[in-house]
Symmetry: C2
Subunit: 99 residues, 2 copies
């Protein structure tokens, strides 16, 4: 089964759209790195939480992607806008519709 | 923006694969009901938690899908295998790769 990950992060007030744009910009290069899904969602019940659901061919592909220059640049730009509140749930993908 | 939802449920011990199969079986009919993504994942850090990430054309499409006969049948079959521990996070989908 392929590797999945559901993560959340909280931004400082007023910065959620900018962080979401950074994440979406970095997503462009992920397909070639082994990513099949990279979904960015904004929590409906507050103004600061972002949820990201990812599916990768393997955990190794995911981990390697974090060393990419574009990923590191995006992370570096986003970090000052984040509070440091993160959650992360690793998954084995059982399947589904739309992958 | 389209409607997203990240939900988790816990199964009674030994029933996770069966519940996941039920969810995946019910997913077949969702495309025509306005669903663009229905991802079923098994938590890597226990044996009982299932995570589902969904993207729908609208919240109304999502809510209407729960009244479908096949969905109600699957829910009815799954419920006795679940503990009643659920989480649900509703989202506005900002975008991403693979949708």
């Amino acid at each position: 089964m392929t590797y999945g990950c559901i993560a959340s992060m909280k931004t400082k007030p007023g910065f959620r759209d900018e962080v979401a744009s950074l994440l979406l910009g970095a997503a462009d290069g992920l397909r070639g790195a082994g990513c099949d899904l990279y979904l960015v969602g904004l929590a409906d019940d507050d103004e600061v939480t972002i949820w990201v659901t990812e599916v990768w061919r393997s955990k190794e592909h995911h981990d390697a992607s974090l060393t990419r220059t574009d990923a590191r640049t995006a992370i570096g730009r986003a970090m000052p806008m984040l509070t440091g509140d993160f959650t992360k749930q690793e998954l084995s993908v059982a399947g589904g519709l739309g992958l």
